[in-house]
């Protein structure tokens, strides 16, 4: 008899991961399905890593209510899951009195939303809060509850906690067909593999519309909105104390200066319609736009400090709010679509909300007595004092093998990443930070390839940057046969 899961969650981004973890507290057979080679490889990969302050939207919207609720949950989550997170505070900077009026509206919204500590700042106060601001900034707003987070470490830790409590994870599993039969959904993937689940949560990000259609649920369109961002060196002068926002535009929150929690500085993102759901190209025009905008806020932003850039695609839905509801068309099906900003901030609350929806939809929730929400903190050689490092190395010599010198990452940490299921170069990068530093993998790539080979038994040609066709080595020279063309 084929297994019937109680719940299948489609999409292992921040929403799917948060839902999986929340549901792992119950006696249920839960499977988390992800079409990419690793979790957090879709929309969540290019997240800016901001925990929003809760003043950008009014609470008539679901996204605002969940943002506020989610924001408050991060301190406890950090204690349990040990991801990098700091409540450094968010500043909205006004360049003139007209902008100041917009800021005042945001402030009013913040007060209405009952955000603790939100304040309206005059010139002196705003500059004291953030000394690197452009001297032309006339004032602004400060939300001390806003913060910075490493988004993929957050998603990885949610998934790790979920799996520790019994949730199964399937990667490289793309739902290509579905039918409802005998009280459950029957799904098939691109390889012909089947899966049966009584309840399904659609948290498929950019492809939530396609998945909804496959299950015969609501018809809607997810429009990809592209955002480019640039990352600067950890020694860049532009590293601010607070996240700096400009006054928001009609379409987006604007291009920011973000001091990441790991010490690098990020600028961006832009917001424009993408050509397709696969369009991830950066452009020269946007580069200039971003740096002009960033320097307007923080003059010490410099292109010379750039180490890399990336593009994210936001899953935009008409109406601009989250669509999180029990489907009115498909049975036992929960929609979690259109999760744009502030999706990351809202994600823990999304987990709670969806849990309640599932209960309402008929899923029996019996609490586990042995739910263990905490996961173990990963020792990191780079933050160890020499005495601590000595102990770590003696316990496990792989802590003494420094593989990534730019970020000081040891072989032990890379092995931990691989054993946690991250077997692509990007997966290892997001888990450990190896390849994220100044040399961008120039020195450590060959060592990581060898460690991967040793730990997984994968052939060199099978190792990829992020799954699919992103191979690193085409072939090895040991193969005979040369087609060299020396004249």
């Amino acid at each position: 008899m084929e297994k019937t899961w109680d719940l299948a969650i489609i999409g292992a981004g921040v929403s799917g991961a948060a839902i999986a973890r929340r549901l792992s507290a119950y006696n249920l057979e839960v499977v988390l399905i992800e079409k990419e080679a690793d979790v957090s490889f879709g929309v969540s990969k290019a997240n800016s890593g901001i925990i929003h302050g809760g003043f950008h939207h009014d609470t008539t919207s679901l996204k605002s209510r969940l943002e506020l609720q989610g924001n408050r949950m991060f301190d406890q989550l950090k204690e349990e899951l040990h991801f990098p997170f700091e409540r450094c505070g968010i500043i909205v900077a006004a360049m003139n009195s007209e902008e100041m009026r917009t800021v005042e509206k945001l402030y009013d919204q913040g007060v209405k939303n009952r955000i603790v500590g939100v304040e309206l700042c005059n010139r002196e106060r705003i500059h004291a809060l953030e000394p690197k601001l452009n001297p032309d900034v006339v004032g602004g707003m400060f939300a001390p509850g806003g913060g910075i987070i490493e988004p993929y470490r957050f998603v990885f830790s949610l998934v790790e906690s979920a799996r520790k409590n019994g949730v199964s994870l399937l990667t490289n599993w793309e739902v290509s067909g579905a039918a409802f039969r005998d009280g459950a959904h029957e799904m098939v993937n691109q390889k012909g593999e089947k899966l049966r689940a009584a309840y399904v949560v659609n948290a498929a990000g950019l492809y939530a519309d396609k998945v909804s259609s496959l299950f015969g649920a609501e018809e809607f369109t997810i429009t990809p909105r592209k955002g480019e961002e640039y990352l600067m060196d950890r020694n860049a002068k532009a590293y601010t104390r607070r996240v700096v926002f400009p006054v928001p535009g009609s379409v987006s929150k604007g291009m920011l200066v973000i001091p990441t929690v790991e010490g690098t500085t990020m600028v961006g993102p832009t917001a424009e319609d993408a050509e397709s759901k696969e369009d991830s190209a950066t452009t020269r025009e946007n580069f200039e736009k971003i740096f002009y905008s960033a320097r307007r806020l923080v003059p010490s932003v410099s292109e010379r400090d750039i180490i890399t850039s990336f593009v994210g695609l936001r899953p935009a839905l008409e109406g601009d709010d989250f669509f999180i509801d029990i489907s009115g068309k498909a049975k036992q099906f929960i929609q979690v679509a259109g999760i744009q900003s502030p999706g990351l901030t809202a994600s823990p609350a999304i987990g709670e909300y969806v849990k309640d929806l599932l209960k309402k939809a008929g899923l029996k929730l019996a609490e586990k007595t042995e739910w263990k929400p905490e996961i173990q903190a990963l020792p990191r050689i780079r933050s160890a004092s020499p005495t601590e490092a000595d102990r770590l190395i003696q316990e496990n010599p792989a802590f003494g093998e420094i593989v990534c010198r730019c970020e000081s990452i040891s072989e032990a940490e890379i092995v931990a990443a691989i054993r946690a299921g991250h077997d692509t170069l990007d997966g290892i990068k997001f888990y450990t930070r190896a390849q994220m530093g100044r040399c961008q993998g120039g020195f450590c790539t060959y060592r990581i390839l060898k460690i991967l080979q040793r730990e997984t038994g994968m052939a060199l040609e099978e190792i990829t940057k992020r799954g699919g066709g992103s191979y690193i080595v085409k072939r090895t020279l040991a193969e005979p046969g040369l087609s060299g063309e020396a004249r």
Partner: protein, 126 residues
């Protein structure tokens, strides 16, 4: 029957003289534009029998690294390079290997041999 003149840059020294080299039939070659006698030698060779030093690697098993670097101990006729490389890439050497080990002696009677350029010890048993 003489062929057309060729423009080339001499690579015998960093000056890189721009030369015009004209084959005049048989072993006869006219070299112009050189600033020293080495240019004449290079110009003639480039036309009659161009040669290059080859540096590459051979497969190594049981060593601390998987390839041992090699070189030809003199310049080899260009047209023989692809076959030399093919023969080289089919070889498998066992570690330990000393620098200066001859892998191929007097390749196809050219007087040019292939030799290792690095000493690589055997990997320690775990």
């Amino acid at each position: 029957m003489s062929e057309k003149a060729r423009e080339m840059i001499c690579i015998s020294c960093p000056l890189g003289c721009h030369m015009t080299v004209t084959p005049l039939g048989g072993e006869d070659v006219k070299v112009e534009g050189n600033r020293c006698p080495r240019g004449v030698v290079y110009g003639r060779e480039e036309v009659l029998s161009p040669k290059r030093v080859v540096t590459a690697t051979a497969a190594l098993s049981g060593g601390v690294v998987g390839r041992v670097p090699v070189k030809t101990d003199g310049a080899l006729l260009k047209e023989l390079i692809p076959s030399l490389l093919e023969e080289l890439y089919a070889m498998k050497i066992e570690a330990p290997v000393e620098q200066g080990l001859y892998l191929i002696e007097n390749y196809r009677d050219t007087g040019v041999s292939l030799v290792t350029t690095r000493t690589i010890p055997a990997a320690c048993k775990p």
